[in-house]
């Protein structure tokens, strides 16, 4: 395919930049409190929480849904101190 005839984009990680930099608050998980229910990972709009509940802070936008939906209150949103 002739590369430059057409505005065709290719799938790539970070296509829209490191959205982690958008955050004002970041989710911090209290592993003690967590019961591995998977809610946080399920409801993260951007799918940045892995199955084993690790947040990809390079991309997490800090929306706070994970914290809001955690049945154990195990996630706190902490102010970024950038």
């Amino acid at each position: 395919m002739n590369e430059d005839i057409l505005a065709i984009s290719r799938p790539v990680k970070g296509a829209t930049g490191k959205t982690g930099s958008w955050r004002v608050f970041k989710p911090v998980i209290d592993r003690e409190a967590c019961n591995q229910c998977g809610n946080c990972s399920m409801f993260c709009p951007d799918g940045v929480i892995s199955e084993d509940t690790v947040v990809d802070l390079e991309f997490c936008k800090g929306c706070g849904i994970c914290a809001n939906e955690c049945p154990k209150g195990a996630i706190k949103m902490e102010r970024e101190d950038k």
């Binding site: 829209t16 930049g17 490191k18 959205t19 930099s21 958008w22 955050r23 004002v24 936008k61 970024e80 950038k82």
Partner: protein, 175 residues
């Protein structure tokens, strides 16, 4: 012609800050234009706005290449964007920061706009609004007169807290 570039994020009020600055310049009897570079991003992404101030009509529409002043409303932008790009050798930079800092080897003026906004209660949809506070700081830096800054704020906003924010920034900015 005095040229200013503002770095912020969608939702933080960088565009409005630019307009406020231009309006204040009108009230100082100057010519001015303020304009954003709009990407198609949603809120959160870095955005850039520009202000030109001059004693005669301004006919340039292209982006500012060599600003006299760079304003950074969100310091995290500096991680991905070269905010010093093209800054004139004698140009100035002011950063929204609670701490003093250097950018690209240059001492920046600083002011805790976020702190001020949270203090006076200027928060919209969870985000602190920084545009009126920063105008106060710029007045202190001499970009516009403080009187005009206040007048411009009054013309655009009815909420008194905006004036308080500007006043606080005026007095707290570290030049």
């Amino acid at each position: 012609m005095y040229e200013i570039r503002i770095h912020s994020r969608g939702g933080q009020g960088g565009v409005t800050a630019a307009r406020l600055l231009a309006l204040a310049a009108f009230r100082d009897g100057k010519y001015a234009t303020a304009f954003p570079f709009y990407g198609a991003e949603r809120r959160g992404a870095p955005v850039v706005s520009f202000v030109r101030i001059d004693d005669r009509q301004i006919r340039v529409y292209s982006m500012i290449e060599k600003p006299d002043l760079v304003i950074v409303l969100d310091s995290s932008v500096m991680e991905t964007v070269d905010v010093m790009h093209g800054l004139k050798p004698d140009g100035k930079i002011i950063v929204n920061s609670a701490y003093p800092l250097e950018v690209g080897g240059k001492k920046a003026s600083t002011v805790d706009l976020t702190g001020i906004a949270l203090n006076v209660g200027l928060v919209v949809a969870g985000s602190p609004v920084l545009n009126t506070a920063v105008i106060g700081a710029l007045a202190k830096m001499g970009t516009i007169s403080f009187e005009s800054a206040k007048q411009a704020i009054k013309e655009m906003f009815s909420d008194e807290r905006n004036i308080s924010a500007a006043s606080l920034a005026f007095s707290e900015v570290n030049i």
